[in-house]
C-alpha cells in the first residue's frame, strides 16, 4: 500500500517537472545555501532580541558584576550608599544562609520571582544601587541571575550589579568566613 502510494506520488511529481534553462539549473545548487544563510541571520536576530542590552550573558569580568570581597567591603563600609541586596535564588538556600540584610525575592527563573522583583523595586529611584545574587550552582549554569538582571535593566535601573559567585554560595561566600544569617 505504501509502495503503491509512493509510486503514485512520484509519478505525479514527474508529471509536473518542467525542463529548466541551464542558468537556472546552475543557480539551483545555491538555493539550500541561501536558505541556510537566511536561517542563520534569523537566529542571530532572535538571540539579539532576547538580550537587547547585549550584556545579559553577564560574562565573568564584565562591569555588571561585583566580586564577593568587593560586596563585603561595601556592606562593611561606614560611608557611601548602601546597596539593596536581593536574593533571587531558591528559598531553601536563603533559609540556610544568606547575606545579612539581603531580602528574599524568589527564583529569577520563575514568574513569581520576577513578579515579586518588579513589585519590590517599583517605587525605587532608577539609580538605586541594587545587588542581585543567587549562588545556587556554578555561574554559567545559574538560571536565576540573568532573568532578574534583564528584568531590572528593562525597567530602566542603571545601578544594578550581580554578585559573581563562581561555584556556589557555600564555596564562594560561606566557606570564606563571610557573614551570613539564617532564616526566612
Amino acid at each position: 500500500m505504501a509502495a503503491h502510494s509512493r509510486t503514485k506520488g512520484a509519478s505525479r511529481v514527474e508529471h509536473l517537472q518542467i525542463p529548466l534553462p541551464k542558468q537556472a539549473l546552475a543557480l539551483r545548487g545555491f538555493v539550500p545555501a541561501i536558505l541556510l544563510f537566511a536561517l542563520a541571520l534569523f537566529a542571530a536576530a532572535t538571540i539579539r532580541a532576547q538580550s537587547p542590552s547585549g550584556v545579559s550573558e553577564l560574562a565573568p569580568g564584565s562591569a555588571q558584576l561585583i566580586n564577593p570581597d568587593e560586596l563585603l567591603s561595601l556592606l562593611q563600609s561606614t560611608t557611601g550608599e548602601k546597596p539593596l541586596v536581593l536574593s533571587v535564588g531558591p528559598s531553601l538556600l536563603y533559609m540556610q544562609a544568606h547575606i545579612p540584610g539581603a531580602e528574599y525575592i524568589g527564583a529569577g527563573s520563575a514568574k513569581p520571582g520576577l513578579d515579586k522583583l518588579r513589585a519590590r523595586v517599583k517605587s525605587l529611584r532608577h539609580d538605586q544601587l541594587i545587588i542581585l545574587y543567587c549562588g545556587c550552582c556554578p555561574w554559567s549554569h545559574c538560571p536565576n541571575v540573568r532573568p532578574a538582571y534583564n528584568q531590572l535593566a528593562a525597567m530602566g535601573f542603571t545601578h544594578v550589579k550581580v554578585l559573581y559567585i563562581a561555584d556556589n554560595f557555600g564555596t564562594d561566600w560561606v566557606d570564606k568566613g563571610y557573614p551570613t544569617i539564617k532564616g526566612q
Binding site: 538556600l93 549562588g135 545556587c136 549554569h141
Partner: protein, 173 residues
C-alpha cells in the same frame, strides 16, 4: 621491674587517650556531613507519600543526592544515577534523591519524564543543615553499609571516580 610496669601503664594510658580523641573527632565532635561521621538520619515522605528514611536502608550503600529540577548539572547526573540504581541495586546500592525545589510540581513532572527508579523527597533547610548545609547544587553523599559518610561531592561528581567509589563500597561487608 617497677620502671617497666610504670612505662607500660603510661603507654597504655597514652594509647587510650589517643583512641578516645580519635573516636570523639569522628563521631560526636565532627561537624554535620563530615567524612567518616555517621550520616544524619531522616524520615520524610517520598513523592508518592510513602515513608522514606535512611534507617530503612541500613546495611546498604546509599547514594544521597541533593538536586533540583532547575539545576543543569543536577539534570545531567540523573540519567547516570538511574543507571546506577538498575546496575548496582541488586548488589546493595540504594539511591535517594532530595529535591531542593521550592515547588513539588516540577519535581513530580521531572520524575515521570525521566522515569526515575529511586525514591525522591522534597527537601528542607533542616535536612540540608543536618548534612552540613547544601549551599549550592548538586551535592552528593556516599554512605557506606556502616551508615558512615564515605564520600562527598560538591558540584557534579566525576563519574569514573564516583563509580569506583561505589564499587569499592559495595564490596565491603
Amino acid at each position: 621491674m617497677r620502671k617497666i610496669v610504670l612505662s607500660i601503664v603510661v603507654i597504655a594510658i597514652a594509647v587510650a587517650v589517643y583512641e578516645g580523641a580519635q573516636h570523639h573527632s569522628h563521631s560526636k565532635g565532627a561537624p554535620p556531613g563530615a567524612l567518616d561521621s555517621p550520616a544524619a538520619t531522616f524520615a520524610v515522605q517520598d513523592l508518592d507519600g510513602k515513608p522514606l528514611s535512611l534507617a530503612g536502608y541500613r546495611g546498604k550503600v546509599v547514594l544521597l543526592n541533593f538536586w533540583a529540577t532547575w539545576c543543569t548539572p543536577c539534570r545531567g547526573e540523573i540519567p547516570q544515577f538511574i543507571d546506577y540504581q538498575s546496575k548496582y541495586g541488586p548488589q546493595g546500592l540504594q539511591l535517594i534523591g532530595i529535591s531542593m525545589d521550592d515547588d513539588a510540581k516540577p519535581v513530580h513532572d521531572f520524575y515521570q519524564q525521566f522515569k526515575m527508579n529511586y525514591p525522591v523527597a522534597i527537601g528542607s533547610a533542616s535536612l540540608a543543615e543536618s548534612y552540613g548545609g547544601v549551599l549550592g547544587l548538586p551535592v552528593t553523599f556516599l554512605i557506606g553499609r556502616d551508615g558512615r559518610i564515605a564520600a562527598k561531592y560538591v558540584g557534579a561528581a566525576e563519574i569514573p571516580i564516583l563509580q569506583q567509589k561505589i564499587e569499592a563500597l559495595l564490596q565491603s561487608k
